[in-house]
Amino acid sequence: MNTTWHFINGRIIDPLNKVDRTGNLLVIDGRIAVPDHPVPAGTPEINVSGCWIVPGLTDMHVHLREPGEEYKEDILSGCLAAVSGGFTGVACMPNTRPVNDCAAVTAMITARAAGAAARVYPVGAISLKCEGRQLTEFGELRAAGVVAVSDDGQPVVDSQLMRRALEYASDFNLPVISHSEDPALSTGLMNEGPVSTRLGLKGIPAAAEAVMVYREIALAEFTGTRVHIAHVSTAMAADLIRAAKIRGVRVTAETAPHYFTLTDDAVTGFDTNTKMNPPLRTEQDRQAIQEALADGTIDAIATDHAPHSILEKEVEFDQAANGIIGLETAVSLSLALVRDKVVDERRLIELLAVNPAAILGFDAGHLSAGAVADITVIDPQQQFIYTADQIISKSRNTPFLDWSLQGRAMLTMVGGSIRYNRISAALP
């Protein structure tokens, strides 16, 4: 497989190296060549004029459903969806069946991922079976290849267990990712407010997220450890994280494109593809999330790609599963932030590529000479309608179906190998 390529006429945006220039980028044998390196004879050219050449994007929060729910997604299909959406790497959450709470499950995921289009970074469980009672063996999980621990899908209810998880994870330099919701407050179906009142659906207050985010901050602050807050959805939580960062607490955070794109108004009509956890919030929250992305409060955009089949979604709203797919729409929805002048191009690439790798602690998210050539090419202009027949994921649970979107990943390269391309039929 050829891993030597010459990108020409692209806009190279490489925030970590403070690069933003229009020009060419040479990849030799799967690594990024030094600038002005002579182009080896016969190197195929990829003309990417009008496009951005950026470090490969990492989605630090996806559900690949394997093992156990392969009818929704599996590692291969999820990774294909990832590269088609511009992601060269994904961190997969442990709430599979069985849960990724021991080295054997991690090893199975890693083995399956060897043949996948994208890099797969497994996240191990904090507690056995994600039941919130007994810590998993972080050392063994780390050795098997997990990059972080989380009971995502469930909050860690027991504050003492969370404290111990933060402390113990620091021994192995593993980030702890918190699904921050108070379970007693979050038994509803959508955001609690005028829309839930009108629809007669039980609400989940913003406070359900805020009280748990504050608990995580307090624990991290007291123990001097670091914590990562998953899928921040509320202004209240963003304010807490901002204040904590100012105090020097080692807290990082992510949000998902739906939280800065949609509001709970989208639930009108009872579309189960607007049901997720945490729920879509108010316009005020949506704007606060955008501000938090811009000012550095929120560090990363992650999709929380959560595939579900029609068995879980074509049912009554109460009974529908939470979550939507996101890998294939994240780039387009995030580019709207640049068009709306919420963030600039550099910041966007930090959110999608630089910071996820930094939080998870691996060397990626930059285009330094000699680095492994994980590269995403983005056309910020291309317009398309996101129709069901284009969906690569096994599942189609998205509220963005038939949306007219602008901006798209055009080519995704992993280690110098082209894993997806919309540029030319002549390319792999």
């Binding site: 009108r198 007669g200 659906l201 207050p205 009554e316």
Partner: protein, 310 residues
């Protein structure tokens, strides 16, 4: 009704979709059908040969009976399905149930379900007209329409009135449908209840949230009490029904703050001595049984109107 009014709705999903004109059409149609129920032979051939399925996923005595009586008085063939939500969880999904029922060619499906939005979901899988007989805490349009009819009969108008709705607003589809219905007809709706049972942003539906029971009831034309469900185990909403009765129940002295000719209403079934003192529930201003009578007429009108449109 050869020269009947036009009615543009294939389904009756909620008051939300009904205009003032639609509501007037339904009420005048119901009014013309009301007399059928007091004939010696309580049957007209209007819906002969049509099939009405009452698909009830939630226990109901009076609403289901009311729809069945309404359909039979119109000569439709009625069938009742009491499906429990748990049985669908075990096996068949709602879309499957719906497709199977649809394959038997019913003309109208009356659905009650504990999950909000399910009647709308049903319309995607059936050819029949769908009438919402109550979906979760969302809407109960036939109840609101019979309440409007009852108030209109007694007051001769539906505009400029003050309607006080007291009790568990959060879990009440009756409250939501009535807030929409009465405000759309030009009346003011005041709601009041314990803060644990007042949903966030209810004012945005057009209701006024009263600061006290007295303020809610003062000068009201209608005092409507809602049924209180005992608190759920995981959601402590009320300490006791005893305290509810004392603090939020409608007594004769509270009622004296309302207009002298105020109507007392309740969607039923009444917890006697809780939402309403017995002397109020059975008192001269109570129109609770008129509501039940009008329920049949309103449902006859709905069955007729959705069929007139197919």
């Amino acid at each position: 009704m050869a020269t009947g009014p036009t009615f543009a709705h294939r389904h009756i999903l909620g008051m939300e979709q009904l205009s003032q004109e639609d509501i007037n059409t339904i009420l005048s149609t119901a009014d013309s059908f009301k007399e059928i129920s007091v004939r010696p032979i309580k049957k007209v051939p209007t819906l002969r040969g049509l099939t009405v399925i009452n698909l009830f996923f939630e226990p109901s005595t009076r609403t289901r009976l009311s729809f069945e009586v309404a359909a039979k008085r119109m000569s439709a063939d009625t069938f009742n399905i009491n499906a429990s939500t748990s049985s669908t969880v075990k096996g068949e999904t709602l879309p499957d149930t719906a497709r199977n029922i649809s394959a038997m060619y019913p003309d109208i499906i009356v659905i009650r379900h504990s999950c909000a939005g399910t009647p709308l979901l049903l319309t995607r899988y059936v050819r029949a007209a769908v009438i919402n007989a109550g979906d979760g805490a969302h809407e109960h349009p036939s109840q609101a329409l019979l309440d409007l009819m009852t108030v209109n009969e007694h007051r001769g108008t539906l505009s400029g009135l003050k309607i006080a709705i007291i009790g568990d607003i959060t879990h009440s589809r009756v409250a939501r449908s009535n807030i929409i219905g009465f405000t759309r007809m030009g009346s003011e709706v005041c709601v009041y209840g314990p803060a644990t049972l007042i949903p966030k942003g209810i004012e945005q539906m057009g209701a006024t949230l009263s600061p006290s029971l007295e303020e809610a009831v003062r000068d009201a034309d209608v005092v409507m009490a809602l049924r209180i469900q005992r608190e759920r185990q995981n959601d402590p909403l009320l300490p006791s029904l005893r305290e509810y009765a004392r603090e939020f129940g409608i007594s004769r002295s509270i009622l004296s703050l309302a207009r002298p000719d105020a109507l007392v209403m309740h969607p039923g079934p009444v917890n006697r001595g809780v939402e309403l003192n017995p002397d109020v529930a059975d008192g001269p201003r109570s129109v609770i049984l008129d509501q039940v009578t009008n329920g049949v007429a309103v449902r006859m009108a709905l069955l007729y109107l959705v069929m007139g449109n197919s």
